[in-house]
Amino acid sequence: MSVFTKLTNIDRRVFYWILFIALMVPFLSPIGFPITIAENTQDLYDGITGDEVEAGEVWIVNFGYGVSAWSECHPSTTACTKALFREDAKIIIMGTHYDVELTYNKLLDTVSEDFAGKVYGEDYVFLGYITGGESAAAQLASSIRSVYPEDHFGTSLDDIPMMDGIDSVHEIDGVLSSDTGDWGGHFMTQWQSAYGTKLAEIGIAMNASTDLPRWIAGNFFGVSVGSRGGAELEILVGELGEATTAMDSISVSHLLMVFAILLANIGVLYDKYAGGNN
């Protein structure tokens, strides 16, 4: 049995152990792989900063991801929230994932310095969780109060100063949808396409093949793809954070994967053409 054949027959648990340990090494000793800014991320950043956002504009930030996807989505959401607050925009935070409260608390923690000068109910509001998919997105466009009679803490929206005069898509200046599913798509069909609302997507890497064509087509003014997008946004915002720290580890995992694929293919080709045993 050749060395290549032996390598292709390694117990998968060995690979998992190597992977798990290798992922930890960059956290202990950072490598510092260079990070370049992708055009779609730059467009996202440009769309929520500078002349594109005026003080007092009202933006929706949608948490459509759970705790398990924090490493993918949360760095980008954090960076975008910072950017919007620095432009003095007002933020409506809503959630389409049932553990949205945990994500909201994490946001308060990770953006604590930016939240420090902001007042709940005047500069930002947390509406909580909704279910209902595309129907809910459409109803939200017609009347926010019909979907959210009160905020997450039980306060009627009519008693929240920031929500005074804000009840439909026409009073919302932009939407950032961060999700592991297709809530970006729901906002696209029911908000961006129907009313021309500015819309950007903070998606997981898995959805890049869906999100990027929508950015190219102009439906999303920008797209952040996974942790990589988060690291790029952290650089643009000027505050390195979780994603930048994790990028080395993610790069190592990708390199290991490429190495494993190459090894397996060499083994198969060797067996096929060089007289292996299989």
Binding site: Y16, L23, F27, Y98, M206, I216
Partner: protein, 211 residues
């Protein structure tokens, strides 16, 4: 984010760390009791949270307004209750009405918003040549155009893929394979990113790296 100091937070952190290891004992070792325990616990807790969250949602969106005098809210409540007839074989047919309403509403809403962004905008962006782009932009344009046309031709199922259709449909199949491969690759890498998050958490709880 700092390492928690409150007793309950610290206990919660360590329970999370332990449960994570119990789950990873399956791929790193083999099927075992601790993995099963963590798996069942995860499913149970997730189900409980989902139930409570959705129950609260129904209460605040429909029941409370109904109690407050919004009589129209009785309609979605009745429709929702009709769904539960699925559990009774003799009356299962009743559940078809709310399901039909849901499908119809979803389909109508979907069609209203889908045609422009998912068809019109996508086609326009595909067939619009790059304005003053370099060689790479033109290559991408041609690549996408050829890929799109050939992939669509692959799904011409009413005509045999022979003669003039043989070459483009084969190219289309290759493009589809590349597309699915890229999608699968992105899926795997997304899972790796989640694993990276757990590796970081593993070290943070042990205070090897800052939280």
């Amino acid at each position: 984010m700092a390492y928690p100091t409150a007793t309950f937070d610290v206990i919660g952190l360590w329970i999370g760390w332990l449960l994570m290891l119990m789950i990873y004992s399956l791929p790193l070792y083999k099927e075992n009791v601790s993995y099963r325990l963590a798996e069942y616990l995860f499913i149970g807790v997730t189900l409980a949270i989902t139930l409570i969250t959705n129950f609260s949602n129904v209460m605040s969106m429909a029941v409370d307004p109904l109690m407050g005098g919004d009589i129209l809210m009785i309609i979605p409540i009745i429709l929702g209750l009709m769904m539960f007839t699925m559990l009774i074989p003799d009356y299962r047919w009743v559940s078809r009405y709310p399901v039909a309403l849901l499908v119809g509403a979803g389909f109508g809403l979907g069609i209203r918003g889908t045609i422009k962004p998912n068809l019109q905008d996508a086609i326009i962006s595909t067939i619009t040549p790059p304005a003053g782009g370099g060689a790479l932009e033109w290559f991408n344009f041609a690549y996408i155009a050829i890929g799109l046309i050939c992939s669509i031709m692959y799904f011409l199922l009413t005509i045999e893929h022979s003669g003039p259709l043989k070459a483009p449909t084969r190219i289309g199949r290759l493009f589809i394979m590349v597309g699915l491969g890229a999608y699968f690759g992105n899926t795997v890498l997304f899972r790796f990113t989640m694993l990276t998050g757990r590796a970081q958490f593993f070290l943070q709880v042990l205070k090897i790296i800052p939280m």
